[in-house]
């Protein structure tokens, strides 16, 4: 493998460690908030109201309700990273089996293209809205239902991609030779096509991790948060039940004009995930591109 791949892997390892062990080092309890506190300046009490900019007490500052940003980032990491990997895994495993099976025959043309007029995150927002807002289900249960549904909506794309790649391999002379030697479809799929799709499978997996991350973010913009959206009527406020990072970005974006610094921490955290995934993806693409790439004549 190459340098990009290893840098991405190290970055991802650090993020996974943060997700797994971060809450142990969180300075506050996730339920603890300081909407107002007093400090003594020159012998006099001074009131500090939330949101607080970064300080020694709150290194990343606080949100508008007084929750410590560092604490909620550390607690939310496992949901953000966990969801991305779970969604990609739920897409790639059935996608691979189904795609290779379907790709043994010539793929039919795409007929239901027009259904794509409605973006997938809007379809998901419609499906999830009824169960996400003030849910009566447990956070973990809802989290798994949401990830399964997000995985399901991207599954046809993965199947089609693997199907097309399988069909391309299926037309190669070495497959024809194997068939002539009496190899059955299962043997051809398992012994000849699957090993050739290894690079493509890694690439599709990482692409799906990135696309699921983006999809969760788009849903968060419409207040559909992983694990549930807690909505209060008076005052009309929204909270993320899990503090996942995209939910934090979506909730702090309303302060973009008055307190733009509030967006820096969650956006930087999000960018770190995106950079690590992209480095790994480019590393894999580069590795397999060198191995199987063709030479241009122009």
């Amino acid at each position: 493998m190459n340098r990009e791949f290893y840098i991405g892997l190290v970055l991802l390892f650090l993020l996974v460690m943060t997700a797994l062990f971060g809450p142990r080092f969180a300075p506050f309890d996730p339920g603890y908030s300081e909407s107002v506190r007093t400090v003594v300046v020159d012998g006099e009490n001074e009131y500090i109201f939330a949101p607080e900019p970064p300080s020694s007490r709150h290194p990343f500052g606080t949100d508008i309700y007084g929750y410590d940003f560092l604490t909620i980032i550390l607690y939310g990491a496992k949901y953000t990273l966990g969801a991305c990997f779970l969604i990609a895994l739920l897409r790639i495993v059935p996608g691979l089996i189904w795609g290779i099976g379907a790709g043994m025959k010539k793929p039919s043309s795409r007929k239901m293209e027009s259904a794509g007029a409605i973006p997938s995150f809007i379809i998901l927002a419609f499906i999830l809205s009824g169960m996400t807002f003030n849910t009566t289900m447990g956070t973990v249960k809802l989290f798994f239902i949401q990830t399964a549904l997000i995985a399901l909506i991207g599954l046809p794309g993965v199947i089609t991609s693997i199907q097309d790649k399988t069909w391309l391999q299926n037309r190669e002379p070495y497959i024809e030779a194997a068939r002539s030697c009496g190899a059955g479809p299962f043997r051809i799929a398992w012994r000849h096509i699957f090993p050739h799709l290894r690079g493509a499978t890694f690439t599709i997996f990482m692409t799906e991790v990135i696309s699921s991350l983006n999809l969760i973010g788009q849903l968060a913009i419409f207040s559909i948060f992983l694990g549930g959206t807690i909505a209060t009527q008076s005052p009309p406020l929204l909270h993320s039940a899990t503090n996942e990072w995209m939910g934090i970005i979506a909730l702090t974006r309303t302060s973009i004009n008055s307190r733009p610094w509030m967006l820096f921490i969650p956006m930087t955290a999000y960018l770190l995930i995106l950079v690590s995934f992209n480095l790994i993806l480019h590393g894999i693409e580069k590795h397999y591109g060198k191995k199987y790439g063709k030479t241009p004549f122009l």
Binding site: E4, K111, M112, E113, S114, A115, G116, A117, I118, P119, S120, F121, I122, I123, F126, I127, S129, G130, M131, T135, T136, M137, G138, K141, I145, I210, L213, N214, G217, Q218, I221, F222, I249, R253, I256, N257, P260, L263, M267, Y270, L271, L274, V275, N278, H282, K286, G289, K294, T295, P296, F297, L298
Partner: protein, 300 residues
Amino acid sequence: MNKRIGIRDGFLKFFFYNFLFPLFFIFLLASVPLIIGNSDGQVRFRLLYLLLAKDYITGLFNGSSLSFNVGQFQWYAFRELPPYFAVTLFYTGISSAIGILLGFPLGLLRYKKINSLSQNILSFIGSIPDFFIILLLQLGAIYFMKLTGKRLAKISMTSDLPILLPLIAMSLFPVLYVARQTSRAAHEVSCRDFIQFARAKGISRRRTFFLHLVPALLPGLSADTAKVAMLVLANVFIAENLFLIQGITHVMVNFSFSGGGGYQFDFVVTCLLYIFALYLIISTALRLLVHGAAFLRRYI
């Protein structure tokens, strides 16, 4: 006779997949927030709400399906919604046209640099989601104003439409997508035997490029127009919501649960139909643009 039956079957299939199926999908989608709910810790399905589609179609004849409660006001589908539709059409039309007109030449220019660092950077930018790009643009405009005191661009809609930032945000992904697809396709075509044959015959690089490589890319570009339309429509939902642009997607998202009567099925169906019409207009216009370019090429 057989040819006539073939044409009729083809038309029926086209009509089913391009109109009837999407219509069915829109009705189903609009009723989903009512069908799927939760109570006592369980997901509940209330399938009776599927019948709302029947009520909507019946209501079309007496006009009740085309009037909605938006806040304190009564709105009509063909009176209040068209201006919002026009706003969305403006943004989607311009950004999708930029996507094709800028992305295709950019892809052609960069097809030999498919594994370069600059290509990797472009791919990375393409993987950043639209909402993140919009927030970055807004933050950039805010800090520019704080530092210089000058307003670079509007970050949200007030009395008039913000133009610069929404168009940048909405054109970026179509441009990068078309450029990437064109680069990959051009790289693949340049490895084919007919290109090698043309070069072996002594045809110059430039001539091979324009007469053999570029025409081979146009069918792929035409097929990609639908994907560009989908990308732009996905972007417009986010852009209208974050820039507070009063377009059709913004009113759908913001007023579908208002009006004192809870979820407004009729309003959502009508808005989704407008969005579907938008998709048909954009994808058809883009396809015509590509076909027009292919037609004009014959006379160059």
